[in-house]
């Protein structure tokens, strides 16, 4: 076993099947994001796309420990979370391209990607808004006496908005089954989060609000998997809300259109060496998994997402009357509006 610090921490007792699944899923997310970036370049996606390349470990480490009927509420950077929660990439890509057959019939797009059928209650275009919404989902779960868990994943920039305080306090006051995961990639758009954040960081703040909190290397999917597994088990057992701060790095610009001029190229290059997929692949190789099996994951993922992208490109626009559907039950926006 290598002592390389970049290799996953818990590579000692690897559940190989589980880790292979993680590896495969991370590649699927990566390939989905690459296809989304292509869609952006080809001007088939006009709205903002926030790729999660480099942060796949968190989507996988968290969502692999959630049941389909557990709830997830995500951020603007939500493709990976949604895919990891079990959504169909074909419907997702159609959504990104604004096409019929999209998860939301093309009405939400990337920033509002959602699949309620797998408990994915939506990405959110408003930073931190998913935090108290998650507390609410957990509140409903508790009121209904269910054993589900509600989870939200948000960025390190979100910890400076009111809902962070209000949502965490709420979850703890009512001892709700909620898991809060901060995807701490060090940046909020073009700004180093540390420059605009006082104190000891996300976990310390959560702890001061009474939530058991821990720091994990979010690029170490093995460690995160374990941490989330334990947290979810405790929460599901009625132990109240918990908090995990998962350190990571975003390997692309903030959006597909962001030239990323605010980070030193060296920093980005160094971060690529800590890429969660590479690290897991290394651990798996060290554990004896054959290179071609790992390569197949990559190839299959790219193939899958290429097909997904092709499908979306060929899909029709939603019928125009969808613009007037699903507003509300009473009143008719087609006539009441004019």
């Amino acid at each position: 076993m290598t002592a390389d610090p970049r290799a996953p921490a818990a590579a000692r007792n690897l559940d190989l099947d589980r880790l292979l699944a993680h590896h495969k899923l991370m590649w699927r997310i990566r390939a989905f994001e690459e296809a989304a970036l292509r869609a952006n370049t080809e001007k088939l996606v006009l709205g903002a796309i926030h790729p999660s390349i480099g942060q796949e470990g968190i989507a996988v480490g968290v969502c692999s420990n959630l049941r389909t009927d557990d709830i997830l509420a995500s951020t603007h950077r939500g493709h990976g979370h949604t895919l990891a929660k079990g959504a169909n990439p074909t419907a997702m890509m159609r959504e990104l391209l604004g096409r019929e057959g999209g998860t939301s019939h093309g009405k939400g797009g990337s920033m509002h990607i959602a699949d309620f059928s797998v408990g994915m209650l939506g990405a959110n275009g408003v930073v931190a808004a998913n935090i108290h919404i998650t507390a609410g989902a957990a509140h409903a779960i508790k009121l209904r006496g269910e054993d589900r868990v509600a989870c939200s994943i948000f960025g390190d920039g979100a910890i400076n908005r009111g809902p962070f305080l209000e949502g965490l306090n709420w979850a703890k006051v009512f001892e709700l089954p909620a898991l809060f995961v901060c995807e701490d990639n060090g940046y909020a758009s073009t700004t180093r989060t540390a420059d605009m954040t006082a104190g000891k960081g996300p976990a310390a703040r959560a702890e001061a609000i009474g939530l058991p909190a821990m720091e994990v290397d979010g690029n170490d999917v093995v460690a995160l998997d374990e941490a989330v597994r334990d947290a979810v088990a405790a929460i599901r057992a009625g132990g109240g809300p918990r908090f995990i701060n998962a350190k990571t790095y975003r390997l692309t610009g903030h959006t597909a259109a962001d030239p990323d001029g605010y980070r030193a190229r060296d920093d980005v290059a160094a971060a690529w060496k800590r890429c969660p997929i590479t690290r897991l692949a290394q651990a798996l190789a060290d554990a004896g998994v054959r290179g071609d099996q790992l390569a197949a994951h990559e190839r299959d993922a790219i193939e899958e997402m290429d097909a997904v992208y092709d499908d979306a490109k060929a899909a029709p626009w939603p019928p125009l009357d969808r613009a007037f559907a699903d507003v509300q039950d009473i009143g008719d926006p087609r006539k009441d509006a004019y």
Binding site: A114, H132, A135, G136, A137, R144, G167, N169
Partner: protein, 323 residues
């Protein structure tokens, strides 16, 4: 048929809906003590702290939690205490609650009722007196209700709770103690106005507390020989256009009176619509009576300066009827 106050009517409605549907629950500050206006008194004892839930002073979380809980199979009734405090939770109401159903392509609905006690309540000053109902009419996805009487507060709150979409439910703080007969056990339809008085010469449209000013004005005018039709709009969105049109077609004259600021108020929407649709049928211009564009002052005489009163409505009506 039973007499009760406006506040009791709402309490009874909530009580019955909570009995009927175990997924209904209420959340807000100090609810376990019955709410700041006593409008929840007795319910905590009946339903316990889970279903009549206290809340931290966290308006944003109260609303955000309600959205999450509504997306997850419950029907929260949100108590905002004063409509003014709802301004601490606008993202949650407007960007989240109102848009979720649409944004997610119909995958979910957000059945919440947001109770926002509104309006002037003697010497409550600028941050505890606002009437911002027109804001909500402008937001796709929201239903807006402003009851003026016990019977309506009973029937409309029931409907609001049963409604699958977010309803901004604005009770007027000055009406809590108003007594009236409640002659039905059923929900009243959202989107339907109430004719409080039939007449031929002029139509007065109003809602919330100002309805009572309109009725007093009608009384006066009737004494002077005029025949006045008074419509309580009750639901501002969707508003009962057809019935208002029918009335104005008949009378040819319309005054819209409301407590809120006239500029950008919902009276403008009604006046603009009626002036357009009934262009040829109007005997006189549609008039609006609302507050001047000033914050609400604390001193009683200054507060009174911006009130829309029966006297003002009657005067405006007399002038119109000359045309």
């Amino acid at each position: 048929m039973v007499t009760m106050t406006y506040g009791e009517a709402a309490k009874n409605a909530l009580h019955e809906e909570m009995q009927r549907d175990p997924t209904v629950w209420a959340l807000g500050e100090d609810l376990r003590r019955g709410g700041v206006f006593g409008q929840y008194k007795g319910l905590p004892e009946l339903y316990g702290p889970d279903r009549i839930s206290d809340a931290p002073i966290s308006e944003a979380a109260i609303m955000g939690v309600a959205v999450g809980a509504a997306l997850s199979g419950t029907r929260p009734v949100v108590e905002m205490r004063f409509a003014d405090f709802a301004l601490c939770a606008v993202d949650e109401l407007v960007n989240q609650a109102a848009k979720a159903r649409y944004m997610f392509g119909g995958q979910a609905k957000v059945p919440i009722v947001v109770r926002e006690p509104m309006g002037m309540w003697r010497s409550s000053a600028a941050q505890h007196s606002q009437s911002l109902e027109s804001w909500y009419t402008h937001i796709p996805g929201l239903v807006v209700v402003c009851p003026s009487s016990p019977v309506d507060n009973y029937g409309l709150l029931k409907s609001a709770i049963r409604c699958d979409d977010p309803v901004v439910y604005m009770e007027h703080k000055n009406l809590w103690a108003l007594e009236g007969e409640v002659d039905n056990n059923d929900p009243l339809p959202l989107g339907r106005c109430r004719f409080l008085r039939k007449g031929e010469d002029i139509t007065l449209v109003s809602w919330s507390a100002t309805v009572h000013e309109a009725m007093a004005a009608a009384e006066t005018l009737t004494g002077e020989g005029a025949s006045v039709e008074v419509i309580d709009l009750r639901t501002l969105w969707p508003w009962d256009k057809e019935r208002v049109f029918d009335s104005v077609k008949k009378t040819g004259r319309l005054i819209v009176a409301h407590e809120s600021v006239q500029a950008g108020g919902f009276g403008a929407e009604i006046a603009a619509t009626v002036s357009d649709v009934l262009f040829g049928d109007l005997k006189a211009p549609v008039k609006r009576l609302g507050a001047p564009r000033v914050p609400i002052a604390y001193a009683p005489p200054l507060e009174d300066t911006v009130r829309v009163t029966a006297v003002m409505i009657a005067e405006c009506a007399r002038a119109l009827m000359k045309e």
